[in-house]
């Protein structure tokens, strides 16, 4: 039986006065990749925001390796082992590339191969070339690599990637896909939110589909890939008649 790395049960979350998540629940096993799919506005980012502590769940349970983390402060949740690559990357623009990594360093957990600046630079040689540059001057793809590197510096037990391919050129998207595979091969547990279904299902073991704040599917990733009906109903673009 695989260890449960991250588990949500009956999570209700509000954004201001709007009730966004209506009892979301899913679980991620250690070392696996879970793709969190759904249309725009389905509640994917709200779900991520609730896990990392930007939003406080009004109800429900969030556990990281069995330890409840729902409603804790973002810094506490980060220190317990959640790493976030947020939507829109949100690197620190006035810090240098190197500083962006260094500020996110955390005391090493008992991982086999802790991340450090050197290992991040080995993973992303482009970042090493630009280490003294202000992060705000990087290209979109470079900022995405930096955002991933920054999250890894905390040696997260679970890594959350929120739309890492958004707004990137196809070549860079492919590279992001390779990086995610590589992290998975190293045993990293990952929740991957993606609009790019192909990219997500390529690497994911499990898939969860959200629709208007509810889980409407939870199963093997390959079950989604060829299920035209599921895709049309919950993921496909609406066609105007």
């Amino acid at each position: 039986m695989a260890v449960e790395a991250l588990a949500l049960a009956n999570v209700h979350s509000f954004y201001g006065d709007s009730h966004i998540l209506h009892g979301v629940g899913f679980s991620l096993s250690e070392g696996e990749v879970l793709a969190l799919l759904g249309r725009n506005g389905a509640g994917k980012t709200t779900c991520i925001s609730t896990i990392v502590g930007f939003l406080t769940p009004k109800e429900g349970d969030i556990r990281l390796f069995g330890e409840p983390i729902g409603g804790l402060s973002p810094e506490r949740i980060s220190r317990l082992g959640i790493g976030l690559v947020p939507q829109g990357r949100r690197i620190f623009p006035s810090l240098t590339v190197r500083e962006n990594l260094v500020v996110a360093r955390q005391r090493e957990r008992a991982t086999t191969k802790p991340w450090n600046v050197e290992r991040i630079f080995a993973l992303f040689p482009r970042l090493e070339e630009r280490y003294a540059q202000f992060a705000g001057t990087l290209s979109g793809g470079e900022q995405q690599m930096l955002a991933i590197g920054r999250a890894l510096m905390g040696n997260p037990r679970v890594l959350l990637l929120d739309e890492p391919s958004e707004g990137l050129a196809p070549l860079i998207v492919a590279e992001v896909g390779r990086i995610i595979k590589r992290l998975k091969d190293e045993g990293q547990s990952i929740v991957l939110v993606e609009q790019n279904r192909q990219l997500a299902l390529d690497v994911a073991d499990h898939a969860v589909i959200l629709n208007t704040g509810r889980c409407v599917f939870s199963g093997k990733a390959h079950e989604v890939l060829n299920n035209e009906e599921l895709i049309a109903q919950h993921l496909g673009v609406y066609h105007a008649h």
Partner: protein, 288 residues
């Protein structure tokens, strides 16, 4: 000629003092977006602590007293920030009223505790002999003050721009929420910044004592100077505060000597023009 050189050196030393006064204000304003109007009162508290300590305990020297006053004022500032200001994070008007109100309270408390007469702060013995510079005689202590200001500027630059702690603080300024999500305790760091800013003001109050003395109203005299320096130099720019301090040092010194009745006009007019035509100040960045 002699007039210009002497007044020039006076301007420099006033500039040094102004930087010690305003660097803490600039730090807090730049990093926390908080206009701490208690800053002048923190400075005055430092001056009173220094004046009383040096009057009542003959074993103390000015430097130890400055460090001690800095620590005490930093602690008081930290309490103020933790207990009150953190609750007003999203309420700028509340911050202005609370910090101004605190300034009045400190001001009155000083008056009650130490009376209305000014209390001198003695210049250290070994710095009482004047220094000869380019054939002119000049008070040594004022030169030392300039050196301390420069050292403080370098120290703060290294702390904020060259250390991991400084980078974490800047990350919190860039994106507070994201900084927390990578594990940075932003709220605690901002308390440290506030303590540091208040502590520098307290220490500066002692160091300015031999020139200014402790007197009621010192806070109200100093606060506008800090505001002018920071606005002129550029909000949040330590370098701007440094340059701004010396510019104001010159304007104020020469203004009061040449046109004594116009000193405040000469002082405030440039600030008004800067706000109107270059709101980011001489060295500030827009949108930061």
């Amino acid at each position: 000629m002699q007039f210009w050189i002497i007044q020039g050196l006076n301007s420099l030393s006033l500039g040094g003092l102004l930087f010690l006064l305003s660097s803490g204000f600039s730090l807090i304003f730049g990093l926390m977006r908080l206009a701490n109007l208690t800053h002048g009162a923190f400075f005055m508290l430092g001056t009173y602590f220094g004046a009383i300590a040096l009057r009542d305990y003959s074993g103390l020297n000015l430097w130890v007293t400055a460090i001690g006053a800095g620590i005490i004022v930093a602690a008081l500032g930290g309490l103020f920030e933790r207990l009150v200001l953190t609750r007003l994070k999203t309420n700028p008007l509340g911050q202005v009223l609370v910090t101004l109100g605190m300034a009045f309270i400190i001001s009155d408390a000083c008056l009650v505790l130490w009376g209305g007469d000014s209390i001198p702060v003695p210049t250290p013995h070994n710095l009482q002999a004047p220094t000869r510079l380019f054939g002119f005689v000049f008070p040594t202590y004022r030169l030392v003050l300039v050196a301390i200001a420069i050292a403080t500027a370098i120290g703060l630059y290294i702390l904020i721009d060259r250390t991991r702690l400084g980078a974490m603080i800047r990350a919190g300024v860039d994106d507070r929420q994201m900084a927390r999500a990578v594990g940075i305790p932003v709220s605690r760091l901002f308390t440290i910044v506030f303590c540091l800013g208040a502590g520098i003001a307290g220490a500066a109050g002692v160091l300015g004592g031999p020139i200014l003395s402790a007197y009621p109203g010192l806070d109200a005299d100093m606060l506008p100077l800090a505001l002018i320096v920071v606005i002129l130099g550029g909000i949040g720019s330590l370098f701007g505060a440094f340059i701004g301090s010396f510019i104001i040092g010159f304007i104020y010194t020469f203004g009061t000597v040449l046109f004594p009745e116009l000193a405040y006009i000469i002082l405030f007019l440039p600030m008004i023009f800067v706000i109107a035509f270059r709101p980011q100040g001489l060295f500030g960045r827009l949108g930061t």
